[in-house]
């Protein structure tokens, strides 16, 4: 849909291309205001096309920050070849920039998007409790005598129940 849209926007430009030169050559100066008017319309159309395309680029840029380096297939399907190329170049520029920050490995600024809130505590499991999911989606197996470093508020109830024990060594 994107490609068709752009082509249709560009077609109106073609017939008008030659009109301006002809009027100047043949000395039909009374046509000049009309030509100027047409030129304004063309400029406006150019601006609209550029604005539409640039807005798409901004959305594609946002995808890098949201999804990471690899885009899902259904999104790639909606992008034309030039947009994919733009995305790859952008990725590369960003990666080069991040690698250059500070010391040897650089800093991945696409991580740490939110201020850290959780405070973790060390707990030991007193009885088998099975699987336990924590906030970032990872699943911990709570087996008797295993020790884990878990968010405090997640453990509070289990500590009260006697399943976990807070380890203070």
């Amino acid at each position: 849909m994107h490609r068709v849209h752009t082509d249709r926007l560009c077609v109106p430009f073609h017939p008008i291309k030659c009109g301006g030169n002809e009027a100047k050559c043949e000395g039909k100066s009374e046509l000049i205001p009309t030509i100027k008017f047409r030129h304004c319309c063309l400029l406006r159309n150019q601006r609209c096309v550029a604005a539409y395309l640039y807005d798409r680029l901004l959305r594609i840029r946002a995808l890098r920050w949201e999804y990471g380096s690899v885009l899902p297939a259904n999104i790639r399907f909606h992008m034309c070849a030039e947009e994919l190329e733009w995305f790859n170049q952008y990725k590369k520029s960003l990666a080069t920039f991040m690698r250059s920050l500070g010391g040897d490995e650089g800093l991945d600024i696409t991580q740490d998007m939110k201020p850290p809130k959780s405070l973790y505590i060390e707990v030991r499991c007193l009885k088998d409790h099975g699987e336990f999911e924590i906030d970032d989606g990872t699943v911990i197996l709570l087996k008797k005598n295993s020790q884990h470093f878990l968010p405090r508020w997640k453990c509070e109830q289990l500590i009260r129940q006697g399943v976990l024990e807070h380890v203070i060594s």
């Binding site: 082509d7 560009c10 063309l42 096309v49 550029a50 640039y54 680029l57």
Partner: protein
């Protein structure tokens, strides 16, 4: 909480003014807030960024040596995560402004004279140039090459809006300022001049106090 940093022996003494880790982190937070709330890209602070990264590395190394299960470790872990968040947020904020105002940022850097401080780090400058080239290539390939010859260029400086310096910002005064010109004299009104007392907080047009932000006399909040 920043005092956790000063327990460690990592020192960044290679700069002109040696700061304690606590002072460095306080400076980082101030710079971060200024950058977040300012509508335009502020002066580049590469040395501070480097110092903070060094500090983070020291803290990580020390954390490896702490006995596992020690409660202090989690507090230090939080401290490291917090500092890393502030630093990342600061760098992200700058990068977003570079992308948003890329032609103006590049123009400013090109027309800056030798002695003036740079607004972009060399890496940010490279990033901005690549971003501009990338975008121009894309527009040309997708649309501009199909247009009549006299319309195949887009003037980026005109097409991309400039930062709005007339927006209002909240600030706290760190050093007393006198005779700040808020509104110039016109036919309808006398000039409106204020004194800014230390510790007071105001809501003012950014353009009025922009030089005070760079000199450190006010802090954006």
């Amino acid at each position: 909480m920043s005092d956790a940093g000063s327990d460690f022996s990592g020192e960044d003494g290679s700069q002109e003014d040696i700061m304690t880790p606590a002072e460095l982190i306080a400076k980082l937070e101030e710079t971060w807030l200024n950058e977040r709330f300012s509508p335009e890209l502020l002066e580049n602070k590469s040395e501070m960024v480097e110092c903070v990264m060094e500090q983070l590395m020291h803290m990580e190394e020390n954390l490896q040596r702490v006995k596992k299960g020690d409660v202090k470790a989690s507090i230090h872990r939080m401290e490291i995560d917090r500092i890393r968040f502030v630093l990342s947020s600061y760098l992200r904020s700058r990068l977003q402004k570079v992308e948003k105002f890329f032609p103006h940022v590049l123009e400013k850097e090109k027309s800056r004279s030798e002695g003036d401080p740079s607004f972009l780090s060399p890496e940010e400058f490279a990033f901005a140039k690549e971003y501009m080239a990338n975008t121009e290539t894309y527009l040309k390939a997708v649309a501009l090459k199909h247009m009549p010859p006299n319309l195949q260029q887009v003037d980026m400086l005109k097409a991309v809006p400039e930062p709005c310096l007339d927006c209002f910002v909240f600030l706290r005064v760190k050093e007393r300022q006198e005779n700040i010109l808020v509104e110039p004299e016109t036919d309808d009104q006398r000039e409106y001049v204020v004194d800014l007392d230390e510790g007071s907080q105001h809501l003012m047009r950014y353009r009025t106090i922009a030089p005070l932000v760079s000199s450190g006399a006010v802090q954006l909040i």
